[in-house]
């Protein structure tokens, strides 16, 4: 059983050694990075039960801040992640406190977070002196890692990025797993399942909602910075509502009840357009239908339907 659980990871780890198609590996890379975003989003959505529409904003903010730090202060990618985290935390606290202090639930929470992410996008879009507005920013340098033996290596080229993003994904999953198996995870579950009861059991729902929102946004921001440095170009549409919706679609398709579910969703939705040879419009229609059918026919998503629905809390 344990072996089976690790099998897919091992398979992914050795894939580039057997498969040399840049095209397919690229799909994997995007799936990994978007998977990071989706997994982190699922922390606040699937596990804490809060439908946040701020996720794309966190993703985009991460991308911008990291790049700006690198380009303006000439620090390394890794150092630049610190301001990224700091700023994401700050923003998450502002948005989160407003939403949760005023006890905005479900739909209202979704709309207000959407409003904030839209504001973030408009600011990024029009703050030309810093973000270069709609023209976006070209990210020309790549992160450098130090590998024992190989020395410092610039992450460039498909294989390098494959492993880089793969490790990033594993990190994200690990963080989520650790948080969820701890008492924090139990509090998240309590909030998701029954807020009133959670309160009477002495759980500070405000604090834990905020915590969940913050962790998710940080991870999303990191995913964003990886994405930016891979694709080499940042534009305001990173923060668009459409981006949030894509992430939500991934989570639902893959399954919101498990940590790895969203990854599966990310793979399907990223790979699908390139697997099926259809006219553009028909493909979009198919995409829509898949989304609809998943929700109607297997509300627990792919993974949720495969795995038995019980979850250890």
């Amino acid at each position: 059983m344990k072996v089976l659980r690790w099998l897919p990871w091992v398979a992914l780890a050795v894939l580039p050694l057997v498969l040399h198609s840049n095209f397919i590996l690229t799909i994997f890379i995007f799936s990994f990075i978007l998977g990071m975003a989706a997994v982190s989003f699922n922390l606040v959505f699937g596990f804490t039960g809060q439908l946040s529409m701020f996720h794309a904003a966190a993703f985009g903010i991460g991308a911008y801040v990291t790049y700006l730090a690198v380009s303006r202060w000439h620090v390394s990618f890794w150092i630049a992640l610190l301001p990224t985290i700091a700023i994401t935390v700050a923003i998450s606290i502002v948005v989160g406190v407003i939403c949760f202090k005023f006890k905005l639930k479900a739909f209202y929470f979704a709309v207000v977070t959407m409003a904030f992410s839209e504001l973030a996008r408009l600011i990024v879009l029009n703050w030309n002196s810093v973000t270069n507005g709609t023209l976006g920013l070209m990210v020309l340098d790549k992160p450098v890692v130090w590998i024992p033996g190989a020395g410092s290596l610039k992450i460039d080229g498909t294989t390098a990025w494959y492993y880089f993003s793969f490790i990033g994904l594993m990190m994200t999953v690990a963080v989520c797993a650790i948080v969820l198996r701890s008492w924090i995870g139990r509090c998240f579950a309590a909030i998701r399942l029954n807020e009133d009861l959670a309160q009477t059991l002495g759980i500070d729902i405000f604090r834990y909602k905020l915590l969940s929102f913050m962790i998710a946004n940080i991870l999303a921001a990191l995913a964003g910075s990886v994405y930016a440095f891979y694709i080499g170009y940042i534009e305001p549409s990173y923060l668009s509502i459409a981006q949030s919706l894509d992430i939500i679609a991934m989570v639902l398709l893959g399954g919101r009840s498990s940590i790895i579910g969203p990854i599966v969703g990310a793979f399907v939705l990223t790979g699908l357009p390139h697997v099926i040879e259809l006219s553009a419009e028909l493909r979009v229609i198919l995409y829509g239908l898949i989304l609809i059918l998943t929700i109607l026919l297997m509300p627990n998503g792919i993974v949720g339907t495969l795995v038995s629905r019980r979850r250890a809390t």
Binding site: N22, G133, I231, G232, Y233, E235, A280
Partner: protein, 387 residues
């Protein structure tokens, strides 16, 4: 590691031609759906017709071999991620050597660093405004821009602004333009241009997708400018022109993108309507048999009416360029030697629907029309020989 990969690719490419028999693959990366699809959609209309015609005619002969064309045109939906995956597939899996598009600047800027690695191994012929700034820079010999440029002595924008000032004596121009890449770049080009010619300007941006412009139009009109310079997709232009005239904020317009359609629709409320048109099809169809044939072909091929107001967009990375490319291949005597083929493309002047040639930087120069519509829809077309 990277270098190794590049080598692998290089070898792969060195190998492909030997067994790529009598088919030449050409690719096109355009947004065929999605909010920014208008340009991409139109330019993905002409290509299939051209390919179809060439193949129906039994292909084309280069050296002693006859080749047919195979068109690969995925839909980027304007999403850079999609586009970069699709381009990788084209260049590495399908071994495409001639890529038309993209038209969207954000897509181009995203794929540029990757495409650069294949410099000298393929040609990218796109209309994106931002391709301009990369032309003639190191490692960008693969780039050609299939749309003429506004600025510079030969730039159509320059010619048009001169014309505008000559005909109307405009002293102050209000610019109302879409807040996206194209819009930004246009603003960056024209603001200094007007300034240089001693014309005052007011500038306002609007979110793409805006439908009601009354507020911003009123705001601009309050500054008492002589003429409105709105941009740049017809989707917005129809609304802007209508609302500008109905609310009588503006009655004179100056367009360097977009079509005559909006003007004609409101012809009775308009005093002057200058528009840059790569070709004024309504008129050309009557005089030029080639155009008439194209319109007929289009209708036959798609079984739908010919989109006169959008048709000028077809000039970009489509119909003519396929024939032009084939010509260049014949001249070069090769379907794989992109450097040679590029040289031929730069050298030739192709006389199709448009009279197309490239300047030394690989940017297109086409003859174009300036249509000046006056009250009641009186139309004066001036064809401008770009060279």
């Amino acid at each position: 590691m990277t270098r190794m990969l590049v080598w692998i690719c290089a070898i792969a490419f060195a190998v492909t031609p030997s067994f790529a028999q009598d088919v030449v693959k050409i690719g096109q990366i355009e947004a065929q759906t999605g909010p920014n699809a208008i340009y991409g959609y139109m330019s993905s209309q002409g290509m299939p017709i051209a390919v179809d015609q060439i193949n129906k005619a039994g292909g084309f002969k280069v050296g002693d071999k006859t080749y047919k064309l195979e068109l690969i045109s995925p839909d980027t939906r304007g999403d850079p991620k999609e586009a970069s995956i699709q381009l990788k597939k084209m260049l590495e899996t399908d071994g495409v050597k001639f890529v038309f598009g993209p038209f969207l600047s954000n897509v181009f800027v995203t794929v540029e660093p990757y495409a650069k690695q294949f410099n000298g191994k393929f040609l990218m012929m796109g209309g994106a405004t931002r391709i301009h700034e990369f032309l003639d820079t190191p490692d960008h010999e693969f780039l050609m821009r299939t749309w003429n440029w506004d600025a510079g002595p030969k730039g159509f924008g320059n010619l048009m602004v001169d014309r505008l000032i000559k005909d109307t004596g405009a002293k102050k121009v209000a610019i109302l333009i879409q807040n996206d890449q194209g819009g930004k770049v246009i603003a960056d080009i024209y603001l200094p241009m007007f300034k240089a010619k001693g014309v005052e300007t007011q500038l306002e941006f609007f979110e793409p997708g805006t439908k009601d412009f009354s507020a911003v139009l009123a705001k601009l009109a309050a500054g008492k400018p002589d003429i409105l310079f709105p941009g740049y997709t017809d989707a917005a232009l129809y609304d802007i022109v209508r609302q500008a005239t109905e609310g009588n904020y503006f009655r004179r317009f100056f367009l360097v993108r977009g079509s005559l359609g909006p003007g004609l629709k409101n012809k009775d409320q308009i005093d002057d309507y200058f528009v840059y048109v790569p070709k004024y099809f309504e008129q050309a169809e009557k005089t030029d048999p080639k155009i008439a044939k194209f319109v007929a072909d289009y209708k036959a091929f798609y079984k739908r009416d010919f989109p006169y107001d959008q048709a000028p967009l077809c000039s970009s990375s489509c119909y003519d360029h396929v024939f032009m490319l084939v010509e260049a291949m014949k001249k070069a005597g090769s379907v794989t030697d992109v450097t040679k083929i590029r040289k031929e493309l730069l050298a030739m002047t192709y006389d199709g629907l448009w009279k197309i040639s490239y300047d030394e930087h690989g940017e297109e120069i086409i003859n174009f029309d300036v249509v000046h519509m006056t009250k009641g829809g009186k139309i004066a077309v001036t064809s401008i020989e770009a060279r």
